[in-house]
Amino acid sequence: MKIYHKLYDTDIGYSFFNSKVAIFSSILFLIIVFCSFFANFVSPYDPFDPLNISLMDAFIPPFWSEGGDMRFILGTDQQGRDMLSTIIYGSRISLIVGFASIIFAMILGVFLGVTAGYLGGKYEIIVMRLTDVQLTIPSILMALLVDGIARAIISKSMHDEMAIYVLIFAIGISEWPQFARVTRASTLVEKNKEYVSASKIIGLSSIYIMFKHILPNILRPVLVIATIGLALAIIAESTLSFLGVGVPPTTPSLGTLIRFGNNFLFSGEWWITFFPAIFLIVLALSINLLGDWMRDALNPKLKKR
């Protein structure tokens, strides 16, 4: 309770606890993360265990429709797998790829951004040019290129095993420039502040100043970008999987599920695509809402009314 009061007292805490949107979206997000993390326990079935599936159960509609079955609340797909279970497991893949790629992008981008901003000189110019060039290339394209090159280099069988890592790398590589650019700009501002000069006069090393003094002061915009970036990463992964160049079909993510279901849209089995799609949208929406709230709450320039 004491922690609650302490948090509530800060500006951010107050803003959070008073924003229905923020509370709602974070609860939603936490539920999804929890479910996918503990998929083994939460999910009614294990849809990838061949013993559990029977083709006899294929194409069953959701339980409220005609022909529905209470055993499969959201219906089954073309192989007889329970939709709810596949969605929960699928969202786990989506979240893992999303988190991992954003963390990768964040570490790489923040490191390059802070060092470029602080050390300056030719190093900074090169890093910034690299960032500029890469920012003009949209992330999807970047991810596709990296993926394509990876496919060309790695043999097909190994590729399936490595697909997730390649994907994380591809999406991460496409997102790091955002972090680099923002952290460099913030570092430049902090660099000119007098507490940095004071630290230099004391004799503290550059690395110490960069990571102990400057870094804690520039984390705010990084958090905002990370949150919004997470949503983008999840969308990117699902897009790539939908296009067929994402995770291998043996460990389907939400995007893969949508791709499977797309084939049956016209023949009337709408639920196979619909539910994964809704889930994906809800996931992305909750993250975006959170990120949106965070951006406004952490922005010192916006005058509060």
């Binding site: 920012l135 003009t136 496919r151 969308i235």
Partner: protein, 325 residues
């Protein structure tokens, strides 16, 4: 002024060179092109023959030079998978993509800027809040889902718009256009709306953020204190000051649209460069991949160049800095 242009031109060429080199490396060193072309059965002699013909045994700089020479003449090699010259494939499909991108860009940019300016100026009106909520939804909806939803609604349920293809196109020789037929125009509607939606919402939010920041600057406060009419302040001053970042956004967005067209073309089976590229990635068809990379880099670099030139004419501070040198 000439200096400024030349400097930018030089930078652009540098970037193109780098892209060309990466593409070249892809082409030559990734995988074995010979294997890709002739399969497992061919004899070693035959392979040597092909290697010579392809020039693989020549030193690198010769190969690179030949590569550049080919590119400039429009020769991108032959597709591994489709066994046709890549340049032919690209020129067949380019009009489809460009028309789609053009219409989407028009939609995204005009509506995006209009709504962005409105929500930036009238921060608290009900309409603004509505637009913002919808735009949040737009950013959370992946493009392919929008496409699928629209197809389901308008093709399956309502049956008024086609769900795939370009409709009937008129062949103008070097260009095939869908603008001149009703079925062509009908076929454009869903894909272009799909493609533009994500960008539109992005632009709305960015423009809004820009406008809000500008409206808090000192020079706006001073203009208000001088009694200048609010309408003039909003639409003349703030807009002109907001133009610079908006132009950057626009430039980047055309690039993004080209990339996202890959997705849209896949969903709608639109016969453009994007779907060609996706197939190439799937089948590891390197000539197409590298050609696509170069084409797209070229378009991006050109857009950047145009954006830089436009800055020059809009921001007097840049003009004066360059003139001093």
């Amino acid at each position: 002024m000439l200096n400024y242009f030349l400097k930018r031109l030089f930078q652009a060429s540098l970037v193109m060179m780098i892209v060309a080199f990466v593409s070249f490396s892809l082409f030559n060193f990734v995988g074995d092109p010979v294997n890709n072309m002739v399969g497992q059965e061919a004899s070693d002699e035959r392979r040597e023959e092909i290697r010579d013909k392809l020039g693989i045994n020549d030193p690198i700089y010769v190969q690179f030079y030949n590569f550049i020479e080919n590119i400039v003449q429009g020769n991108f090699g032959i597709s591994y998978q489709l066994k046709r010259p890549v340049s032919e494939l690209i020129s067949e499909r380019m009009p489809a993509t460009l028309e789609l991108v053009f219409v989407s860009a028009l939609l995204a940019i005009t509506i995006g800027i209009l709504l962005g300016v409105y929500t930036g100026i009238h921060r608290d009106s009900f309409l603004s809040k509505l637009i913002l909520t919808l735009s949040l939804a737009g950013v959370s909806l992946p493009t392919f889902i929008i496409g699928i939803m629209l197809i389901y609604l308008f093709s399956v349920i309502l049956g008024v718009l086609p769900s795939f293809g370009r409709g009937q196109v008129i062949d103008l020789g070097f260009w095939t256009t869908g603008f001149l037929t009703i079925s062509g125009l009908k076929a454009l509607i869903l894909p272009s709306v799909t493609l533009s939606l994500f960008q539109m919402t992005y632009i709305i939010r960015l423009v809004r953020a820009e406008m809000m920041e500008i409206l808090q600057t000192d020079y706006i406060k001073f203009a208000k204190a001088r009694g200048i009419d609010e309408k003039i302040i909003n639409y003349r001053y703030a807009l002109k000051n907001g133009l610079i970042p908006v132009i950057t956004i626009t430039g980047i967005n055309i690039g993004t649209l080209i990339a996202f067209s890959i997705i849209t073309e896949t969903v709608f089976q639109w016969p453009g460069m994007g779907s060609l590229f996706i197939n190439a990635v799937y089948f590891v068809d390197i000539p197409i991949m590298s050609a696509y990379m170069i084409m797209v880099a070229f378009i991006f670099v050109m857009i950047n160049f145009i954006v830089d030139i436009t800055y020059y004419f809009i921001d007097p501070r840049i003009r004066l800095k360059e003139e001093k040198e």
